[in-house]
């Protein structure tokens, strides 16, 4: 049992780190500009398609990823300048509708250019999984803990990325401009921060992280128009969970969400086995669990588990 719990936690952390960086990007854009970007996952998906195409042409993986990320940044700036600046001052619901429109447009574009056939994307790190055996005392059946190397590498990369973004926002001038802008628009202006620049930066970074997450999951999901749709929902939940109050919160929210999800599945598995129910597969309940977590969080603590300070913009 201990092995199964540990295994769930490990898998949970692995998938949670991906939810975390999606949530981080969403909350970066939301906190800075006040726009909830419902086209987030699909923006990332377009970037992955671009990367995939460059890979097919050049066979150079790192160049493709790099150009995919740059494309994501440009796409983000484009979305800010063209779509959002035109609706500046409009209500949040109008912005929401616009991002929903973009979501559909991106899906359409991907279908037209790349078709419905899922495209394969190689594992970036392809080594056999590592098996860890706990001492006999803790582990009477001698089951191993399985650590898939690709997932582990993704986890490390995702954690490093989020640490980098957090350091960037704390220690560099453009990062501080983001923070100040997210705290108070007029306050940022009176200290001489170019708010338009901060907004574009948030979009560029945010969409780039979505593309990045897309590259990390692509070997599992394949490259296809709906590859990040579920991940966006998870990322959104992670950010709600973290309260949109800080970038660290969104990432930590993702990790907690990932673990919680796998633990709930484990518990349900045990329960169903005990009750002799074999018709329901607990993994199918994953999405319902996520939705339930959003609703429960919002009811119990609308500001997220880490608590937003002093403002609720939703």
């Amino acid at each position: 049992m201990l092995v199964r719990i540990l295994q769930s936690i490990i898998f949970g952390l692995f998938s949670g780190s991906l939810y975390g960086i999606i949530g981080l990007g969403l909350s970066l854009i939301y906190r800075t500009t006040g726009v909830m970007n419902f086209a987030h996952g699909n923006s990332g998906m377009i970037g992955v398609f671009v990367g995939w195409t460059i890979l097919a042409l050049t066979k150079n993986l790192f160049l493709s990823i790099f150009l995919g990320l740059i494309f994501g940044a440009i796409l983000g700036i484009f979305m800010d300048k063209i779509l959002m600046k035109k609706v500046k001052g409009l209500s949040h619901s109008s912005m929401l509708i616009i991002t929903l429109g973009v979501l559909l447009i991106f899906e359409g574009i991907a279908l037209i250019i790349w078709g419905t056939q899922p495209l394969l994307f190689k594992d970036i790190f392809s080594f056999p999984p590592k098996l860890i055996y706990l001492p006999q005392k803790l582990n009477p059946n001698n089951f191993p803990l399985i650590i898939p190397t690709n997932d582990f590498a993704n986890f490390l990369v995702a954690v490093s990325l989020s640490i980098l973004i957090i350091l960037f926002s704390r220690l560099t001038k453009p990062g501080l401009a983001l923070i100040a802008r997210s705290e108070d628009e007029i306050g940022a202006k009176v200290v001489g921060i170019n708010v338009n620049f901060a907004d574009s930066l948030a979009w560029a970074l945010g969409i780039s992280t979505a593309v990045f997450a897309g590259f990390l999951v692509a070997p599992k999901t394949t490259v296809n128009p709906i590859m990040l749709v579920n991940f966006q929902l998870y990322g959104f939940t992670a950010a709600v969970f973290g309260g949109f109050s800080s970038f660290i919160g969104a990432f930590a929210g993702g990790l907690i969400l990932g673990v919680l999800e796998k633990i709930v599945i484990l518990v349900l598995d045990q329960l169903f086995t005990k009750l002799g129910i074999s018709t329901i597969n607990s993994v199918d309940l994953q999405l319902s669990i996520i939705l339930l977590i959003i609703i429960i969080t919002l009811i119990i603590k609308p500001t997220g588990i880490f608590g937003a300070k002093f403002k609720g913009k939703v």
Binding site: A180, E183, D184, I186, G187, K189, V190, V191, G192, K309
Partner: protein, 231 residues
């Protein structure tokens, strides 16, 4: 002259909040603009600092700055302490102050000036700004403006919502800033405080300047006393 505006107007769509205002401020001078709610005082300051669009002429240190964006104006030493404080609520007092030096000003040097002026902020430097009292937040807002080493400091109703004793503290601090040689453009509804403190004054009504003159004289003028001092 550190600041000169001429036929200066600010509009929001069809509403003209500031109508062809002409105003000037000499180096090291303290000038106040008083007026009732909605007279256009804040709009005037937002226009001068470039945060809202304005029409007309504006010269800072004898240079035309009408095309200069707000962040460049800050860079040149025109610093606004805005209405409603607009501090960064979930950052610590110290972080708020450091951001005040984002564009200009030596953070270390300015912070010493701010802490000498407002010892309360030094005691609270690690505290989250949103948890400060109203008076402390106002001090923080003024402190943050000072962090940018202003040449022209614009203050929008610094005494708003403060108890009389705190208002006095704020004005003691402003007097220190005047001694440091900072030119101050002060906006107030609290006409008595402002007129007693400033060298010259303008009275704004419905976006237009209706009276201007030395503030000591205005303090003794019957029409002003009746309309703005309630005497």
């Amino acid at each position: 002259m550190i600041l000169e505006i001429n036929k200066f107007s600010v509009s929001y769509g069809k509403i003209e909040a500031v109508k062809s205002v002409t105003l000037s401020l000499k180096e090291k001078e303290v000038v106040t603009v008083i007026g009732v709610n909605g007279a256009g005082k804040s709009s005037l300051l937002y226009g001068i600092s470039g945060i809202v669009e304005a029409k007309g002429m504006i010269f800072y240190q004898e240079k035309d700055i009408s095309k200069l964006p707000y962040n460049k104006r800050v860079k040149n030493g025109m610093i606004l302490c805005p209405e409603g404080r607009r501090i960064f609520p979930s950052l610590a007092v110290e972080e708020n102050l450091k951001l005040g030096s984002f564009s200009r000003g030596n953070a270390k040097k300015q912070m010493k000036i701010v802490f000498d002026l407002f010892p309360k902020l030094y005691e609270r430097k690690k505290q989250i700004a949103g948890y400060l009292s109203g008076g402390e937040q106002q001090m923080l807002a003024i402190g943050r403006a000072l962090m940018g080493d202003p040449k022209l400091l614009m203050l929008d109703e610094p005494s708003l919502g403060l108890a009389p004793i705190i208002v006095d503290q704020v004005y003691v601090a402003l007097a220190e800033l005047k001694k440091l040689g900072i030119s101050i453009l002060l906006i107030e509804q609290n006409a008595y405080q402002a007129l007693s403190f400033a060298d010259r004054a303008y009275i704004l009504e419905n976006g237009k300047v209706v009276v201007e003159g030395e503030s000591k004289k205005l303090l003794n003028e019957d029409s002003v006393r009746k309309a703005y001092l309630g005497i």
